[in-house]
Subunit: 314 residues, 2 copies
Amino acid sequence: MTARRHRVGVVGATGAVGSVTLGLLRAHGFEDVRVFASARSAGRRLGAWTVEEATPEALARGDVDVFLFSVGTSASRALVPHAVAGGALVVDKSSAYRLEPGVPLVVPEVNGARALEHDGIVANPNCCTIPLTCVLKPLHDEAGLVRVRVATYQSMSGAGAKSMERLRTEPQEDHDLLLEWEFDGEEFDEESKLRDETRKILELPGLPIQATCVRVPVMVGHAEAVWVETEDELPPARAREILARAPSVRYEEFPSPGKARGIDDVLVGRIRRDPTVDRGLALFLACDNLRKGAALNAIQIAKLVLDRAPVGAA
Amino acid sequence: MTARRHRVGVVGATGAVGSVTLGLLRAHGFEDVRVFASARSAGRRLGAWTVEEATPEALARGDVDVFLFSVGTSASRALVPHAVAGGALVVDKSSAYRLEPGVPLVVPEVNGARALEHDGIVANPNCCTIPLTCVLKPLHDEAGLVRVRVATYQSMSGAGAKSMERLRTEPQEDHDLLLEWEFDGEEFDEESKLRDETRKILELPGLPIQATCVRVPVMVGHAEAVWVETEDELPPARAREILARAPSVRYEEFPSPGKARGIDDVLVGRIRRDPTVDRGLALFLACDNLRKGAALNAIQIAKLVLDRAPVGAA
Protein backbone atom coordinates (compact mmCIF):
# COMPACT_ATOMS: atom_id res chain seq x y z
CA MET A 1 0.00 0.00 0.00
CA THR A 2 1.50 3.32 -1.11
CA ALA A 3 1.34 6.07 1.49
CA ARG A 4 -1.02 8.87 0.48
CA ARG A 5 -0.18 12.49 0.98
CA HIS A 6 -3.82 13.46 1.48
CA ARG A 7 -4.85 14.96 4.79
CA VAL A 8 -7.91 13.24 6.20
CA GLY A 9 -10.27 14.41 8.93
CA VAL A 10 -12.60 11.89 10.56
CA VAL A 11 -15.63 13.65 12.04
CA GLY A 12 -17.58 11.60 14.58
CA ALA A 13 -14.49 9.57 15.36
CA THR A 14 -15.77 8.23 18.67
CA GLY A 15 -18.84 6.46 17.21
CA ALA A 16 -19.17 2.89 15.95
CA VAL A 17 -18.52 3.80 12.29
CA GLY A 18 -15.87 6.40 13.19
CA SER A 19 -13.72 3.90 15.03
CA VAL A 20 -13.89 1.37 12.18
CA THR A 21 -12.98 4.21 9.81
CA LEU A 22 -9.82 4.95 11.83
CA GLY A 23 -8.86 1.29 11.72
CA LEU A 24 -9.30 1.08 7.95
CA LEU A 25 -7.60 4.35 6.96
CA ARG A 26 -4.05 3.16 7.59
CA ALA A 27 -4.67 -0.05 5.64
CA HIS A 28 -5.75 2.16 2.75
CA GLY A 29 -2.56 4.21 2.84
CA PHE A 30 -3.83 7.28 4.66
CA GLU A 31 -1.29 8.36 7.26
CA ASP A 32 -2.11 12.01 7.77
CA VAL A 33 -5.27 11.63 9.81
CA ARG A 34 -6.92 13.94 12.34
CA VAL A 35 -9.94 13.11 14.43
CA PHE A 36 -12.86 15.35 15.31
CA ALA A 37 -15.88 14.97 17.54
CA SER A 38 -18.28 17.00 19.64
CA ALA A 39 -17.09 19.31 22.44
CA ARG A 40 -17.87 16.52 24.92
CA SER A 41 -15.09 14.32 23.51
CA ALA A 42 -12.59 17.06 22.63
CA GLY A 43 -9.18 16.51 24.22
CA ARG A 44 -9.84 12.80 24.73
CA ARG A 45 -7.15 10.38 23.52
CA LEU A 46 -8.31 7.97 20.86
CA GLY A 47 -5.51 5.49 20.06
CA ALA A 48 -2.69 7.61 18.63
CA TRP A 49 -4.91 10.65 18.27
CA THR A 50 -6.18 13.49 20.37
CA VAL A 51 -9.78 14.36 19.56
CA GLU A 52 -10.26 17.91 18.25
CA GLU A 53 -13.57 19.68 18.59
CA ALA A 54 -15.54 19.76 15.34
CA THR A 55 -16.24 23.50 15.31
CA PRO A 56 -17.26 25.30 12.11
CA GLU A 57 -13.96 27.19 12.29
CA ALA A 58 -11.79 24.09 12.66
CA LEU A 59 -13.51 22.42 9.69
CA ALA A 60 -13.33 25.51 7.46
CA ARG A 61 -9.60 26.10 8.04
CA GLY A 62 -8.61 24.52 4.72
CA ASP A 63 -5.91 22.29 6.14
CA VAL A 64 -7.70 19.00 5.44
CA ASP A 65 -8.26 17.50 1.96
CA VAL A 66 -11.10 15.15 2.77
CA PHE A 67 -13.48 14.87 5.70
CA LEU A 68 -15.20 11.58 6.41
CA PHE A 69 -18.34 12.46 8.36
CA SER A 70 -20.19 9.89 10.43
CA VAL A 71 -22.37 11.95 12.73
CA GLY A 72 -26.13 12.41 12.99
CA THR A 73 -28.16 14.12 10.30
CA SER A 74 -28.59 17.41 12.13
CA ALA A 75 -24.87 17.61 13.00
CA SER A 76 -24.01 16.95 9.35
CA ARG A 77 -26.39 19.69 8.20
CA ALA A 78 -24.75 22.12 10.65
CA LEU A 79 -21.11 21.27 9.97
CA VAL A 80 -20.67 19.91 6.43
CA PRO A 81 -21.15 23.31 4.71
CA HIS A 82 -18.22 24.74 6.71
CA ALA A 83 -15.93 21.90 5.68
CA VAL A 84 -16.94 22.41 2.04
CA ALA A 85 -16.40 26.16 2.35
CA GLY A 86 -12.86 25.40 3.51
CA GLY A 87 -12.24 23.62 0.22
CA ALA A 88 -12.34 20.05 1.42
CA LEU A 89 -14.17 17.12 -0.10
CA VAL A 90 -16.78 15.77 2.32
CA VAL A 91 -17.95 12.17 2.27
CA ASP A 92 -21.04 12.24 4.49
CA LYS A 93 -22.55 9.12 6.04
CA SER A 94 -25.73 10.76 7.36
CA SER A 95 -28.96 10.91 5.40
CA ALA A 96 -28.77 14.74 5.27
CA TYR A 97 -27.65 15.03 1.65
CA ARG A 98 -28.31 11.62 0.14
CA LEU A 99 -31.40 12.53 -1.82
CA GLU A 100 -30.45 16.13 -2.52
CA PRO A 101 -30.36 16.78 -6.29
CA GLY A 102 -26.79 17.47 -7.41
CA VAL A 103 -25.23 15.55 -4.54
CA PRO A 104 -23.83 12.23 -5.79
CA LEU A 105 -24.92 9.22 -3.73
CA VAL A 106 -22.23 6.67 -4.43
CA VAL A 107 -21.36 3.02 -4.19
CA PRO A 108 -18.05 2.99 -6.11
CA GLU A 109 -18.63 -0.43 -7.73
CA VAL A 110 -22.11 0.60 -8.86
CA ASN A 111 -22.03 4.28 -9.88
CA GLY A 112 -18.50 5.42 -9.07
CA ALA A 113 -18.31 7.86 -11.98
CA ARG A 114 -21.03 9.97 -10.34
CA ALA A 115 -18.67 10.78 -7.47
CA LEU A 116 -16.59 12.92 -9.83
CA GLU A 117 -19.56 15.22 -10.41
CA HIS A 118 -19.52 16.36 -6.80
CA ASP A 119 -19.74 19.94 -5.70
CA GLY A 120 -17.90 19.36 -2.43
CA ILE A 121 -20.14 16.64 -0.99
CA VAL A 122 -20.50 12.98 -1.85
CA ALA A 123 -23.16 11.14 0.17
CA ASN A 124 -22.50 7.65 1.53
CA PRO A 125 -25.69 5.51 1.35
CA ASN A 126 -27.59 3.69 4.08
CA CYS A 127 -25.92 0.52 5.37
CA CYS A 128 -28.59 -1.72 3.78
CA THR A 129 -28.63 0.16 0.48
CA ILE A 130 -24.92 -0.37 -0.18
CA PRO A 131 -24.87 -4.20 -0.23
CA LEU A 132 -28.26 -4.34 -1.95
CA THR A 133 -27.13 -2.17 -4.87
CA CYS A 134 -23.85 -4.12 -5.16
CA VAL A 135 -26.02 -7.19 -5.84
CA LEU A 136 -28.84 -5.58 -7.84
CA LYS A 137 -26.64 -3.66 -10.28
CA PRO A 138 -25.08 -6.70 -12.03
CA LEU A 139 -28.49 -8.41 -12.15
CA HIS A 140 -30.05 -5.30 -13.68
CA ASP A 141 -27.30 -5.00 -16.28
CA GLU A 142 -27.86 -8.60 -17.28
CA ALA A 143 -31.63 -8.97 -17.23
CA GLY A 144 -33.36 -5.71 -16.24
CA LEU A 145 -35.00 -5.30 -12.85
CA VAL A 146 -38.81 -5.34 -12.82
CA ARG A 147 -39.44 -5.30 -9.07
CA VAL A 148 -37.61 -5.92 -5.81
CA ARG A 149 -38.76 -6.88 -2.31
CA VAL A 150 -36.43 -6.95 0.67
CA ALA A 151 -36.79 -8.12 4.28
CA THR A 152 -33.83 -6.97 6.37
CA TYR A 153 -32.06 -8.48 9.39
CA GLN A 154 -30.09 -5.46 10.69
CA SER A 155 -27.61 -5.65 13.53
CA MET A 156 -27.52 -3.45 16.61
CA SER A 157 -24.30 -1.72 15.58
CA GLY A 158 -26.30 0.00 12.85
CA ALA A 159 -28.12 1.83 15.66
CA GLY A 160 -24.86 3.03 17.19
CA ALA A 161 -22.62 2.36 20.16
CA LYS A 162 -25.40 2.86 22.75
CA SER A 163 -27.57 0.16 21.21
CA MET A 164 -24.59 -2.19 21.17
CA GLU A 165 -24.10 -1.53 24.87
CA ARG A 166 -27.79 -2.21 25.51
CA LEU A 167 -27.46 -5.57 23.73
CA ARG A 168 -24.36 -6.38 25.80
CA THR A 169 -25.97 -5.66 29.15
CA GLU A 170 -29.61 -6.76 28.63
CA PRO A 171 -30.37 -10.34 29.72
CA GLN A 172 -30.31 -12.70 26.76
CA GLU A 173 -33.89 -13.80 27.49
CA ASP A 174 -35.12 -10.23 26.87
CA HIS A 175 -33.59 -9.79 23.42
CA ASP A 176 -36.28 -9.05 20.88
CA LEU A 177 -36.65 -7.96 17.29
CA LEU A 178 -36.79 -4.16 17.30
CA LEU A 179 -39.02 -2.11 15.02
CA GLU A 180 -37.76 1.21 16.27
CA TRP A 181 -37.14 3.50 13.32
CA GLU A 182 -39.09 6.66 12.75
CA PHE A 183 -42.55 5.71 11.50
CA ASP A 184 -44.10 7.84 8.77
CA GLY A 185 -47.65 6.55 8.83
CA GLU A 186 -47.12 3.58 6.57
CA GLU A 187 -43.43 2.75 6.63
CA PHE A 188 -40.24 3.33 8.59
CA ASP A 189 -37.89 6.07 7.39
CA GLU A 190 -35.35 3.25 7.08
CA GLU A 191 -37.61 1.59 4.48
CA SER A 192 -38.13 4.73 2.45
CA LYS A 193 -34.37 5.38 2.53
CA LEU A 194 -33.68 1.92 1.19
CA ARG A 195 -36.18 2.46 -1.64
CA ASP A 196 -35.28 6.02 -2.59
CA GLU A 197 -31.53 5.56 -2.33
CA THR A 198 -31.58 2.35 -4.37
CA ARG A 199 -33.54 4.13 -7.09
CA LYS A 200 -31.08 7.05 -7.13
CA ILE A 201 -27.94 4.90 -7.18
CA LEU A 202 -29.23 2.55 -9.88
CA GLU A 203 -30.68 5.54 -11.77
CA LEU A 204 -34.03 3.79 -11.95
CA PRO A 205 -36.32 6.45 -10.48
CA GLY A 206 -39.45 4.37 -11.00
CA LEU A 207 -38.12 1.01 -9.81
CA PRO A 208 -40.88 -0.82 -7.92
CA ILE A 209 -39.22 -1.76 -4.64
CA GLN A 210 -40.49 -2.35 -1.11
CA ALA A 211 -38.61 -3.12 2.09
CA THR A 212 -39.60 -4.47 5.49
CA CYS A 213 -36.86 -3.46 7.93
CA VAL A 214 -36.22 -5.35 11.17
CA ARG A 215 -33.43 -5.02 13.70
CA VAL A 216 -32.16 -8.31 15.14
CA PRO A 217 -30.11 -8.92 18.31
CA VAL A 218 -26.85 -9.49 16.44
CA MET A 219 -23.95 -7.18 17.25
CA VAL A 220 -22.37 -6.58 13.82
CA GLY A 221 -23.42 -7.52 10.28
CA HIS A 222 -26.63 -6.96 8.32
CA ALA A 223 -28.47 -9.52 6.19
CA GLU A 224 -31.25 -9.18 3.62
CA ALA A 225 -33.71 -11.67 2.14
CA VAL A 226 -34.35 -10.42 -1.38
CA TRP A 227 -36.90 -11.26 -4.07
CA VAL A 228 -36.12 -9.96 -7.55
CA GLU A 229 -38.11 -10.12 -10.79
CA THR A 230 -36.40 -9.46 -14.10
CA GLU A 231 -37.47 -8.51 -17.62
CA ASP A 232 -35.41 -11.23 -19.27
CA GLU A 233 -35.07 -14.81 -18.20
CA LEU A 234 -32.23 -15.12 -15.65
CA PRO A 235 -31.63 -18.70 -14.49
CA PRO A 236 -30.26 -19.00 -10.92
CA ALA A 237 -27.02 -20.56 -12.22
CA ARG A 238 -26.44 -17.56 -14.48
CA ALA A 239 -27.25 -15.11 -11.66
CA ARG A 240 -24.76 -16.89 -9.45
CA GLU A 241 -22.10 -16.71 -12.18
CA ILE A 242 -22.67 -12.97 -12.65
CA LEU A 243 -22.66 -12.23 -8.93
CA ALA A 244 -19.58 -14.37 -8.26
CA ARG A 245 -17.55 -12.12 -10.55
CA ALA A 246 -19.19 -8.83 -9.60
CA PRO A 247 -16.88 -6.36 -7.82
CA SER A 248 -17.00 -6.52 -3.99
CA VAL A 249 -19.41 -9.46 -4.09
CA ARG A 250 -18.49 -12.98 -2.98
CA TYR A 251 -20.58 -16.09 -3.47
CA GLU A 252 -21.23 -17.97 -0.23
CA GLU A 253 -23.82 -20.75 -0.03
CA PHE A 254 -25.27 -19.61 3.34
CA PRO A 255 -24.34 -15.98 4.00
CA SER A 256 -24.67 -14.68 7.56
CA PRO A 257 -23.61 -11.57 9.49
CA GLY A 258 -21.04 -13.66 11.38
CA LYS A 259 -19.42 -14.76 8.12
CA ALA A 260 -19.47 -11.21 6.75
CA ARG A 261 -17.98 -9.61 9.88
CA GLY A 262 -14.52 -8.14 9.32
CA ILE A 263 -14.40 -8.72 5.57
CA ASP A 264 -14.79 -6.22 2.74
CA ASP A 265 -17.06 -8.15 0.39
CA VAL A 266 -20.82 -8.49 0.31
CA LEU A 267 -21.69 -12.19 0.69
CA VAL A 268 -24.51 -13.45 -1.50
CA GLY A 269 -26.02 -16.91 -1.66
CA ARG A 270 -29.22 -18.97 -1.51
CA ILE A 271 -29.74 -17.90 -5.13
CA ARG A 272 -32.76 -19.82 -6.38
CA ARG A 273 -35.80 -19.50 -8.55
CA ASP A 274 -38.86 -17.76 -7.11
CA PRO A 275 -41.42 -20.28 -8.34
CA THR A 276 -44.37 -18.00 -7.60
CA VAL A 277 -43.70 -15.92 -10.75
CA ASP A 278 -42.06 -16.14 -14.16
CA ARG A 279 -38.53 -14.72 -14.14
CA GLY A 280 -38.24 -14.41 -10.38
CA LEU A 281 -35.24 -15.04 -8.13
CA ALA A 282 -34.81 -15.27 -4.39
CA LEU A 283 -31.44 -14.66 -2.72
CA PHE A 284 -29.90 -13.84 0.64
CA LEU A 285 -27.03 -11.44 1.32
CA ALA A 286 -24.92 -10.41 4.29
CA CYS A 287 -22.47 -7.57 4.78
CA ASP A 288 -20.39 -5.99 7.54
CA ASN A 289 -22.52 -2.88 8.06
CA LEU A 290 -19.63 -0.99 9.68
CA ARG A 291 -17.21 -1.74 6.81
CA LYS A 292 -18.69 -1.96 3.28
CA GLY A 293 -21.99 -0.73 4.74
CA ALA A 294 -20.33 2.43 6.07
CA ALA A 295 -16.64 3.17 6.73
CA LEU A 296 -15.12 1.20 3.86
CA ASN A 297 -17.52 2.61 1.28
CA ALA A 298 -16.67 6.15 2.45
CA ILE A 299 -12.93 5.49 2.14
CA GLN A 300 -13.43 3.98 -1.31
CA ILE A 301 -15.36 7.09 -2.37
CA ALA A 302 -12.58 9.32 -1.03
CA LYS A 303 -9.89 7.35 -2.88
CA LEU A 304 -11.89 7.38 -6.09
CA VAL A 305 -12.32 11.16 -6.01
CA LEU A 306 -8.81 11.97 -4.74
CA ASP A 307 -7.11 9.77 -7.32
CA ARG A 308 -9.04 10.94 -10.36
CA ALA A 309 -9.82 14.54 -9.48
CA PRO A 310 -7.85 15.95 -6.59
CA VAL A 311 -9.74 18.59 -4.69
CA GLY A 312 -8.94 21.32 -2.20
CA ALA A 313 -5.35 22.14 -1.31
CA ALA A 314 -4.06 18.64 -2.03
CA MET B 1 -62.71 -23.82 33.31
CA THR B 2 -64.60 -27.10 33.72
CA ALA B 3 -62.45 -30.05 34.69
CA ARG B 4 -62.19 -32.63 31.92
CA ARG B 5 -62.42 -36.32 32.57
CA HIS B 6 -60.09 -37.15 29.68
CA ARG B 7 -56.83 -38.87 30.43
CA VAL B 8 -53.91 -37.12 28.70
CA GLY B 9 -50.41 -38.41 28.04
CA VAL B 10 -47.67 -35.94 27.16
CA VAL B 11 -44.90 -37.67 25.23
CA GLY B 12 -41.63 -35.75 25.08
CA ALA B 13 -42.49 -33.97 28.29
CA THR B 14 -38.93 -32.87 29.06
CA GLY B 15 -38.46 -30.82 25.87
CA ALA B 16 -39.18 -27.13 25.26
CA VAL B 17 -42.65 -27.76 23.79
CA GLY B 18 -43.43 -30.55 26.28
CA SER B 19 -42.90 -28.34 29.30
CA VAL B 20 -45.09 -25.56 27.88
CA THR B 21 -47.72 -28.23 27.16
CA LEU B 22 -47.72 -29.30 30.81
CA GLY B 23 -48.16 -25.71 31.91
CA LEU B 24 -51.10 -25.14 29.57
CA LEU B 25 -53.01 -28.38 30.19
CA ARG B 26 -54.30 -27.44 33.62
CA ALA B 27 -55.46 -24.03 32.37
CA HIS B 28 -57.45 -25.92 29.73
CA GLY B 29 -59.15 -28.12 32.29
CA PHE B 30 -57.10 -31.28 31.90
CA GLU B 31 -56.29 -32.71 35.31
CA ASP B 32 -55.60 -36.35 34.56
CA VAL B 33 -52.17 -35.99 32.99
CA ARG B 34 -49.28 -38.42 32.72
CA VAL B 35 -45.87 -37.63 31.34
CA PHE B 36 -43.68 -39.79 29.12
CA ALA B 37 -40.17 -39.44 27.77
CA SER B 38 -37.22 -41.54 26.66
CA ALA B 39 -35.60 -44.16 28.92
CA ARG B 40 -32.95 -41.56 29.83
CA SER B 41 -35.49 -39.38 31.64
CA ALA B 42 -37.71 -42.17 33.04
CA GLY B 43 -38.14 -41.95 36.81
CA ARG B 44 -37.19 -38.25 36.86
CA ARG B 45 -39.51 -35.87 38.72
CA LEU B 46 -41.03 -33.17 36.57
CA GLY B 47 -43.07 -30.79 38.73
CA ALA B 48 -45.87 -32.88 40.17
CA TRP B 49 -45.16 -35.78 37.82
CA THR B 50 -42.84 -38.74 37.62
CA VAL B 51 -41.67 -39.36 34.06
CA GLU B 52 -42.70 -42.73 32.64
CA GLU B 53 -40.72 -44.36 29.85
CA ALA B 54 -42.45 -44.03 26.46
CA THR B 55 -42.29 -47.71 25.51
CA PRO B 56 -44.56 -49.17 22.81
CA GLU B 57 -46.25 -51.26 25.52
CA ALA B 58 -46.93 -48.30 27.83
CA LEU B 59 -48.45 -46.28 24.98
CA ALA B 60 -50.58 -49.18 23.68
CA ARG B 61 -52.10 -50.00 27.08
CA GLY B 62 -55.35 -48.20 26.33
CA ASP B 63 -55.49 -46.23 29.57
CA VAL B 64 -54.96 -42.80 27.97
CA ASP B 65 -57.51 -40.97 25.81
CA VAL B 66 -55.21 -38.56 24.03
CA PHE B 67 -51.47 -38.43 23.60
CA LEU B 68 -49.79 -35.13 22.82
CA PHE B 69 -46.51 -36.01 21.10
CA SER B 70 -43.65 -33.55 20.85
CA VAL B 71 -40.66 -35.69 20.03
CA GLY B 72 -38.45 -35.99 16.94
CA THR B 73 -39.74 -37.33 13.65
CA SER B 74 -38.15 -40.76 13.95
CA ALA B 75 -39.37 -41.23 17.53
CA SER B 76 -42.88 -40.28 16.40
CA ARG B 77 -42.73 -42.79 13.55
CA ALA B 78 -41.66 -45.50 15.99
CA LEU B 79 -44.12 -44.78 18.81
CA VAL B 80 -47.28 -43.14 17.44
CA PRO B 81 -48.67 -46.34 15.83
CA HIS B 82 -48.59 -48.10 19.22
CA ALA B 83 -50.52 -45.29 20.88
CA VAL B 84 -53.10 -45.42 18.07
CA ALA B 85 -53.31 -49.21 18.34
CA GLY B 86 -54.18 -48.75 22.01
CA GLY B 87 -57.21 -46.71 20.97
CA ALA B 88 -55.95 -43.24 21.85
CA LEU B 89 -56.11 -40.09 19.78
CA VAL B 90 -52.62 -38.85 18.95
CA VAL B 91 -51.86 -35.20 18.26
CA ASP B 92 -48.35 -35.31 16.81
CA LYS B 93 -46.08 -32.25 16.62
CA SER B 94 -43.36 -33.86 14.48
CA SER B 95 -43.31 -33.66 10.71
CA ALA B 96 -43.71 -37.46 10.44
CA TYR B 97 -47.39 -37.51 9.47
CA ARG B 98 -48.15 -33.94 8.44
CA LEU B 99 -48.20 -34.50 4.70
CA GLU B 100 -49.50 -38.07 4.81
CA PRO B 101 -52.74 -38.37 2.84
CA GLY B 102 -55.62 -39.13 5.20
CA VAL B 103 -53.93 -37.58 8.21
CA PRO B 104 -55.57 -34.24 9.06
CA LEU B 105 -53.09 -31.37 9.49
CA VAL B 106 -54.98 -28.92 11.62
CA VAL B 107 -55.07 -25.34 12.83
CA PRO B 108 -58.45 -25.30 14.60
CA GLU B 109 -59.36 -21.73 13.56
CA VAL B 110 -58.49 -22.48 9.94
CA ASN B 111 -59.58 -26.03 9.14
CA GLY B 112 -60.83 -27.41 12.44
CA ALA B 113 -63.50 -29.60 10.85
CA ARG B 114 -60.78 -31.69 9.22
CA ALA B 115 -59.66 -32.90 12.64
CA LEU B 116 -62.87 -34.92 12.97
CA GLU B 117 -61.88 -36.99 9.94
CA HIS B 118 -58.90 -38.46 11.78
CA ASP B 119 -58.05 -42.12 11.85
CA GLY B 120 -56.24 -41.93 15.17
CA ILE B 121 -53.68 -39.25 14.30
CA VAL B 122 -54.04 -35.52 13.86
CA ALA B 123 -50.83 -33.73 12.85
CA ASN B 124 -49.84 -30.41 14.44
CA PRO B 125 -48.21 -28.10 11.85
CA ASN B 126 -44.80 -26.44 11.83
CA CYS B 127 -44.43 -23.49 14.21
CA CYS B 128 -44.25 -20.99 11.32
CA THR B 129 -47.11 -22.57 9.38
CA ILE B 130 -49.63 -22.15 12.22
CA PRO B 131 -49.50 -18.34 12.60
CA LEU B 132 -49.13 -17.89 8.83
CA THR B 133 -52.32 -19.83 8.06
CA CYS B 134 -54.21 -18.02 10.85
CA VAL B 135 -53.48 -14.82 8.94
CA LEU B 136 -53.75 -16.09 5.37
CA LYS B 137 -57.09 -17.87 5.76
CA PRO B 138 -59.25 -14.78 6.43
CA LEU B 139 -57.44 -12.89 3.65
CA HIS B 140 -58.08 -15.77 1.24
CA ASP B 141 -61.75 -15.97 2.17
CA GLU B 142 -62.11 -12.27 1.49
CA ALA B 143 -60.05 -11.71 -1.63
CA GLY B 144 -58.46 -14.96 -2.87
CA LEU B 145 -54.74 -15.60 -2.52
CA VAL B 146 -52.70 -15.36 -5.72
CA ARG B 147 -49.19 -15.71 -4.30
CA VAL B 148 -47.36 -15.49 -0.97
CA ARG B 149 -43.75 -14.79 -0.01
CA VAL B 150 -42.46 -15.12 3.53
CA ALA B 151 -39.16 -14.26 5.23
CA THR B 152 -39.01 -15.75 8.72
CA TYR B 153 -37.34 -14.61 11.95
CA GLN B 154 -37.43 -17.82 14.02
CA SER B 155 -36.33 -18.00 17.64
CA MET B 156 -33.88 -20.48 19.13
CA SER B 157 -36.55 -22.29 21.15
CA GLY B 158 -37.85 -23.64 17.86
CA ALA B 159 -34.62 -25.61 17.63
CA GLY B 160 -35.12 -27.12 21.10
CA ALA B 161 -33.75 -26.85 24.61
CA LYS B 162 -30.11 -27.44 23.56
CA SER B 163 -30.14 -24.48 21.17
CA MET B 164 -31.64 -22.31 23.88
CA GLU B 165 -28.79 -23.32 26.18
CA ARG B 166 -26.26 -22.49 23.46
CA LEU B 167 -27.77 -19.03 23.12
CA ARG B 168 -27.64 -18.57 26.90
CA THR B 169 -23.97 -19.50 27.20
CA GLU B 170 -22.44 -18.18 23.96
CA PRO B 171 -20.91 -14.66 24.21
CA GLN B 172 -23.35 -12.05 22.93
CA GLU B 173 -20.77 -10.86 20.38
CA ASP B 174 -20.83 -14.29 18.69
CA HIS B 175 -24.59 -14.48 18.14
CA ASP B 176 -25.33 -14.87 14.46
CA LEU B 177 -28.24 -15.60 12.18
CA LEU B 178 -28.34 -19.37 11.70
CA LEU B 179 -29.20 -21.11 8.45
CA GLU B 180 -28.96 -24.57 9.86
CA TRP B 181 -31.91 -26.61 8.63
CA GLU B 182 -31.51 -29.62 6.38
CA PHE B 183 -30.69 -28.37 2.90
CA ASP B 184 -32.28 -30.17 -0.04
CA GLY B 185 -30.29 -28.72 -2.91
CA GLU B 186 -32.33 -25.57 -3.35
CA GLU B 187 -34.20 -24.93 -0.14
CA PHE B 188 -34.25 -25.86 3.55
CA ASP B 189 -36.66 -28.59 4.64
CA GLU B 190 -38.12 -25.87 6.89
CA GLU B 191 -39.03 -23.89 3.77
CA SER B 192 -40.65 -26.79 1.96
CA LYS B 193 -42.62 -27.64 5.14
CA LEU B 194 -43.92 -24.10 5.33
CA ARG B 195 -45.02 -24.27 1.68
CA ASP B 196 -46.48 -27.78 1.61
CA GLU B 197 -48.24 -27.52 4.97
CA THR B 198 -49.77 -24.14 4.15
CA ARG B 199 -51.10 -25.56 0.90
CA LYS B 200 -52.59 -28.60 2.69
CA ILE B 201 -54.21 -26.61 5.51
CA LEU B 202 -55.69 -23.97 3.20
CA GLU B 203 -56.67 -26.69 0.70
CA LEU B 204 -54.96 -24.75 -2.05
CA PRO B 205 -52.63 -27.42 -3.46
CA GLY B 206 -51.31 -25.15 -6.20
CA LEU B 207 -50.83 -21.98 -4.13
CA PRO B 208 -47.68 -20.20 -5.31
CA ILE B 209 -45.72 -19.65 -2.10
CA GLN B 210 -42.04 -19.32 -1.26
CA ALA B 211 -40.30 -18.93 2.09
CA THR B 212 -36.83 -17.86 3.17
CA CYS B 213 -36.26 -19.22 6.66
CA VAL B 214 -33.77 -17.67 9.07
CA ARG B 215 -33.12 -18.37 12.75
CA VAL B 216 -32.42 -15.28 14.88
CA PRO B 217 -30.79 -15.07 18.33
CA VAL B 218 -34.08 -14.51 20.15
CA MET B 219 -35.05 -17.03 22.83
CA VAL B 220 -38.82 -17.39 22.29
CA GLY B 221 -41.20 -16.07 19.62
CA HIS B 222 -41.20 -16.29 15.84
CA ALA B 223 -41.88 -13.45 13.40
CA GLU B 224 -42.61 -13.42 9.67
CA ALA B 225 -42.43 -10.69 7.04
CA VAL B 226 -45.13 -11.58 4.52
CA TRP B 227 -46.01 -10.37 1.03
CA VAL B 228 -49.43 -11.38 -0.27
CA GLU B 229 -51.10 -10.83 -3.63
CA THR B 230 -54.85 -11.28 -3.98
CA GLU B 231 -57.30 -11.85 -6.83
CA ASP B 232 -59.66 -9.10 -5.70
CA GLU B 233 -58.75 -5.65 -4.52
CA LEU B 234 -58.08 -5.71 -0.76
CA PRO B 235 -57.23 -2.30 0.71
CA PRO B 236 -54.94 -2.38 3.77
CA ALA B 237 -57.67 -0.87 5.97
CA ARG B 238 -60.04 -3.67 5.00
CA ALA B 239 -57.35 -6.33 5.57
CA ARG B 240 -56.73 -4.89 9.00
CA GLU B 241 -60.45 -4.96 9.79
CA ILE B 242 -60.72 -8.61 8.72
CA LEU B 243 -57.62 -9.68 10.62
CA ALA B 244 -58.57 -7.77 13.76
CA ARG B 245 -61.71 -9.91 14.08
CA ALA B 246 -60.19 -13.19 12.89
CA PRO B 247 -60.04 -15.91 15.55
CA SER B 248 -56.74 -16.10 17.46
CA VAL B 249 -55.39 -13.04 15.65
CA ARG B 250 -54.79 -9.69 17.35
CA TYR B 251 -53.91 -6.45 15.60
CA GLU B 252 -50.73 -4.84 16.93
CA GLU B 253 -49.04 -1.96 15.09
CA PHE B 254 -45.50 -3.32 15.53
CA PRO B 255 -45.61 -7.05 16.33
CA SER B 256 -42.49 -8.64 17.81
CA PRO B 257 -41.57 -11.96 19.44
CA GLY B 258 -41.22 -10.18 22.78
CA LYS B 259 -44.79 -8.88 22.54
CA ALA B 260 -46.11 -12.30 21.45
CA ARG B 261 -44.35 -14.22 24.22
CA GLY B 262 -46.71 -15.81 26.72
CA ILE B 263 -49.92 -14.91 24.91
CA ASP B 264 -52.24 -17.11 22.87
CA ASP B 265 -52.93 -14.88 19.88
CA VAL B 266 -50.98 -14.33 16.70
CA LEU B 267 -50.01 -10.64 16.49
CA VAL B 268 -50.29 -9.05 13.06
CA GLY B 269 -49.45 -5.51 12.01
CA ARG B 270 -47.55 -3.32 9.58
CA ILE B 271 -50.37 -4.03 7.13
CA ARG B 272 -49.72 -1.86 4.11
CA ARG B 273 -49.99 -1.83 0.35
CA ASP B 274 -47.21 -3.52 -1.64
CA PRO B 275 -46.76 -0.77 -4.22
CA THR B 276 -44.68 -2.96 -6.54
CA VAL B 277 -47.81 -4.77 -7.81
CA ASP B 278 -51.55 -4.35 -8.19
CA ARG B 279 -53.49 -5.92 -5.32
CA GLY B 280 -50.45 -6.59 -3.14
CA LEU B 281 -50.13 -6.33 0.63
CA ALA B 282 -47.17 -6.46 3.00
CA LEU B 283 -47.58 -7.38 6.66
CA PHE B 284 -45.61 -8.58 9.67
CA LEU B 285 -46.67 -11.18 12.23
CA ALA B 286 -45.33 -12.58 15.48
CA CYS B 287 -46.37 -15.58 17.55
CA ASP B 288 -45.22 -17.50 20.61
CA ASN B 289 -43.81 -20.53 18.81
CA LEU B 290 -44.06 -22.70 21.93
CA ARG B 291 -47.75 -21.83 22.54
CA LYS B 292 -49.92 -21.21 19.45
CA GLY B 293 -47.00 -22.38 17.32
CA ALA B 294 -46.90 -25.74 19.11
CA ALA B 295 -48.34 -26.72 22.54
CA LEU B 296 -51.48 -24.58 22.50
CA ASN B 297 -52.45 -25.63 18.97
CA ALA B 298 -52.09 -29.30 19.99
CA ILE B 299 -54.31 -28.82 23.05
CA GLN B 300 -56.89 -26.97 20.94
CA ILE B 301 -56.91 -29.87 18.47
CA ALA B 302 -57.36 -32.34 21.31
CA LYS B 303 -60.27 -30.37 22.80
CA LEU B 304 -61.91 -30.01 19.43
CA VAL B 305 -61.80 -33.75 18.76
CA LEU B 306 -62.64 -34.86 22.31
CA ASP B 307 -65.62 -32.52 22.61
CA ARG B 308 -67.20 -33.29 19.27
CA ALA B 309 -66.25 -36.91 18.71
CA PRO B 310 -64.94 -38.72 21.76
CA VAL B 311 -62.45 -41.43 20.91
CA GLY B 312 -60.90 -44.39 22.70
CA ALA B 313 -62.09 -45.48 26.09
CA ALA B 314 -63.17 -42.00 27.15
